[in-house]
């Protein structure tokens, strides 16, 4: 039950993109086609879950016992880089098809602040191994949901007669703003 609440909170109430502002660069940069957005979402979901588990393990079994918790930022970013590399190698050797779909996005994920953000938020929330994995996966689901929704909206926006100064990024941000207003409605959903 607690894990379910944690998941709902991460997907809807505290949506990573719209209320916590994590993962915005790929959100603005990549999401122009529904297919590419879905590919990006899947790649990110995998790395995010893997990285949040690995970061937890590193923190609990390496940094904490040695009293070196202040090293968490460099340690986590290295873990994330390794996780991204590992994912790429694994995907390439097991499924060339999947690699074709995801290959392009994998290197970008290292600088997706959502990944480091999840690792740090897991620490703050005092999550254990299972909760870290669930939180990572649901954060990724929330990220993917918004990414795909947004890609479909931007396809429709391409034909719109947007005033010149607002073409491109500004109207995308306005759309994100109104979508974020919609997500504010989920406030308190997990207070039960």
């Amino acid at each position: 039950m607690d894990l379910l609440l944690l998941a709902v909170a991460a997907v809807l109430v505290n949506n990573f993109v719209l209320t916590q502002f994590l993962g915005l660069c790929p959100f603005m940069g990549v999401s122009r086609r529904v297919e590419t957005a879905a590919g990006m979402a899947m790649a990110t979901a995998f790395v995010l879950t893997l990285a949040s588990v690995l970061s937890y393990l590193i923190f609990a079994y390496l940094l904490e016992p040695f009293g070196a918790t202040y090293l968490r930022t460099p340690a986590f970013i290295l873990v994330i880089a390794v996780a991204v590399q590992f994912t790429e190698i694994m995907v390439r050797s097991t499924s060339p098809l999947l690699h074709q779909v995801l290959g392009l996005y994998l290197p970008l994920i290292t600088t997706n602040c959502a990944v480091l953000g999840v690792a740090l938020l897991n620490l703050r929330g005092g999550h254990d191994l299972v909760a870290s994995a669930v939180y990572g996966a649901s954060a990724a689901a929330g990220f993917g949901l918004v990414l795909v929704l947004f890609a479909a909206m931007r396809e429709r926006l391409e034909g719109a007669d947007v005033p010149t100064p607002f073409r491109g990024a500004p109207i995308a941000l306005i759309t994100a703003g109104i979508l974020s207003m919609g997500f504010m409605g989920f406030a308190g959903l997990t207070a039960v």
């Binding site: 502002f21 603005m28 602040c113 500004p170």
Partner: protein, 206 residues
């Protein structure tokens, strides 16, 4: 030299033109002081890492260039985080997660990769400084705008950044909330959109 400054501050502004580092930009700009705080921390990190990357540019083999750059940035971020925690503890608490997340500000890696790793120390440092200043400027302006429209105040909490003497700097234009939406998450997106549109409008006039 002038062109480097102009590039970083306006023409190629990391936040407004390249849309890099949006996460902290939108997350911490609920007040001018918080925006400025994170802006200055980013400015420090980006100047230091651009300088360092330029210094080591001939010694790092191609294959490990990226991991080394990220490591350099992560080191400066952690050092900055520790310094802020020690001397500006309240700002440290306000910025929370977004202080360590400076690591993933794409603008820093982008400058290291495209500029600093190819230029001598002087221009590299200046470029880092200009990019960081441009970013800090946008953070402060967006923070000030949201604070003003949302809460009707300006520079609330200035003492967190500038010491106890600054406690009186807060300007209260309206008592009570004005248009609360501005300091909520939707206000961040809409505020930045308005800033971008304003810049587009100004540029198209030239």
């Amino acid at each position: 030299m002038k062109s480097i400054l102009r590039n970083g501050l306006w023409t190629n502004n990391a936040a407004l033109v390249q849309l890099l580092g949006l996460c902290p930009l939108l997350a911490v700009t609920t007040t001018a002081v918080a925006g400025l705080g994170l802006g200055l921390a980013t400015l420090l990190v980006i100047t230091a890492s651009s300088t360092a990357v330029s210094l080591i540019r001939h010694r790092v083999p191609r294959d490990v260039r990226l991991p080394v750059f990220i490591l350099v940035i992560a080191t400066f971020v952690t050092v900055t985080e520790l310094l802020v925690a020690a001397w500006l503890h309240e700002i440290y608490l306000t910025l929370g997660l977004f202080l360590p997340l400076i690591v993933t500000n794409c603008a820093i890696l982008a400058r290291a990769e495209t500029f600093a790793s190819r230029q001598p120390v002087g221009p590299a440092a200046l470029d880092g400084f200009a990019t960081g200043a441009g970013f800090a400027l946008v953070l402060a302006v967006l923070g000030a705008g949201r604070e003003l429209v949302g809460r009707g105040t300006l520079l609330d909490g200035a003492e967190m950044l500038f010491g106890p003497a600054a406690a009186g700097w807060t300007v209260t234009l309206v008592d009570g909330d004005v248009f609360l939406l501005a300091v909520l998450p939707p206000g961040a997106f809409i505020g930045l959109a308005l800033l971008l549109a304003a810049k587009n409008r100004l540029d198209s006039r030239d």
